[in-house]
């Protein structure tokens, strides 16, 4: 397993240019949601997004990558790696589930856009002040209802 990761890592960092091109890896760097559906694996999420209330306002990256410049590209690179690896080795858990780390990014992005509107409910904080989990109630904002 580790070996497999190492190989793919090597591929990506070293000689992966062609593959990167072929898989339209560059699309990771664009803001066009179609970039993400290059992987049929993301099809469901894309279709869901098309019907979601956010389609006019937010693209994949608005929700799934940090809005600050450097973290944004770092996250993209990291996710790009995991997703390529998963896609190639077909060893990921299905149904796809967001990782806790990306879940945090996501939540921060909700707040980033809805800062004013949620200002008051975020004032009172318990002991996990940062984590007023928007997704707990608004699970369907990105991709419609989960079922």
């Amino acid at each position: 397993m580790r070996a497999a990761i190492a190989i793919v890592l090597g591929v990506l960092l070293g000689l992966g240019g062609y593959t990167f091109y072929y898989a339209q890896g560059a699309s990771y760097l664009s803001n066009d949601p179609k970039a993400c559906v290059n992987c049929h694996i993301m099809r469901e999420q894309y279709d869901g997004w098309l019907k979601s209330p956010h389609r006019p306002y937010a693209t994949c990256n608005d929700c799934h990558t940090p809005h600050a410049l450097i973290p944004k590209y770092w996250t993209k690179a990291e996710n790009g790696f995991w997703h390529s690896k998963g896609f190639t080795l077909q060893d990921f858990h299905e149904p796809i589930r967001i990782r806790p780390k990306n879940s945090r990014v996501l939540n921060e992005n909700c707040v980033a856009c809805h800062r004013e509107f949620t200002a008051e409910i975020r004032v009172t904080h318990g002991h996990d002040a940062d984590k007023l989990d928007c997704i707990r109630c608004h699970m369907d904002v990105g991709h419609g209802p989960p079922r």
Partner: protein, 477 residues
Amino acid sequence: LAFGVLLLKENIAARKEEARHHVFKIVDLGEQSVDPADWGRNYPRQYDSYRRTSELTSTKYGGGGSDTLATDKLKEDPRLVTIFRGYAFAVDYRLRRGHAYMLSDQRDTKRVTQHAQTGACLHCHAANTVAYRKVGLANGATGTLNDPLVSSHGYAQLQKGFEKVGAMPYSNAVALVEHPVTCLDCHDPDSTQLRVTRPAFLNGIRKLAESTAPLPHLPSIEKWRKGDRREPYDPNRLATRQEMRSFACAQCHVEYYCGPKMTLFYPWDRGLKVEQIEAHYNSLKFPDGRRFFDWVHADSGAEVLKAQHPEFELWSQGIHARSGVSCADCHMPYKREGAIKVSDHWVRSPLLNVANSCQTCHRMPEEEITARVAIIQERNHALLLRAEEATVALIRAIAEARKNGATEEALRSARELQRRAQWRVDFINAENSMGFHAPQEAARILGEAIDDARQGQIALLQPRASSAAQPKPTSVK
């Protein structure tokens, strides 16, 4: 390392290809294509998983165990021996297992080898559409074997053959069939579209449609009811795709009557709830004029009922049915094969495949999902045992009273209560999800069973007050 890059590229190319994939027709399929291997040429993925129903599996309450013979229910729970005394189920009663076994398990059960059974048993244990139609044609039905099954000719042949085969002795009838449930039983050979082919189901669902029971989970019936009703309700023409994904299973996973005195039927004329079915049975008379019953209990002399696998009925009272979640969603979930999603034809316990079957809807770890099922099943199991204990206590009490010479009149009320209690206990015991398909409803039914059984004991001990302990008619809504 260069190898790695190529591999990666190759792989992506392959996946892109698969996404564009189509079905290649290799074999021409028709209404006589009974052999699943033929279908397998065209649909190898479905066929491969279909064949895996021969694998032996088990979960805490599901599957048939790993022995050659499926696990013996009577050994696991000796209360059942008392409860079924005088009936074939006291002789041999096992856990269900994969579809591949349905024909042989029936052929081999002592309920068949030691008791006389009819051909009606085959209705749910074999690929029988062609056999039924042939017998139907031989008995005067019109048309040919090549008529589509879903046509007036096809239906008439099927129904006629079903009646005739059902009346044969089992041993004659079983010679007419060869396969367990097969592709043709659930699919149109032309379009592969889902269809239902079991005559008793077609008859039963028609009666259900004509009843007044609210069926919010079956929208096509609610819609048919609002129409002119000139044509009877036909699921093959009217049901939604999502409904068909449950009807395919409701062909067999239902309560039925399959004794020698009447043609096999599903008792849905008043609805699908436990007391609606009971009310229907109570209203039925045998040709000899006696009130309907399955057998007379050997110890108590009560005319009692047997419930069989009412999965469809219990599911119908649960939150999943109400939310439009079908049997196939959980028991035949989609699985990805390369870029293609196919229905997993390895029909089995969803607990063996939580990722595909539950996690598409429930966003939580697998352990959490199985823990939730465990809580539901354990609660149900504890209450089920309690209800069985109460029923056994009542049976013993009646038997003792008989021995001590109690009059028929003195026993009447207790026997009626046994009939009620036993029907309810059995409804949940015979249902195969250990309460999961509708947890609160199952617990309610068991609560009523306990009450009935204990009131039966009281009625015997306190004959003067027995009028107070009369079975109260439960309001049927």
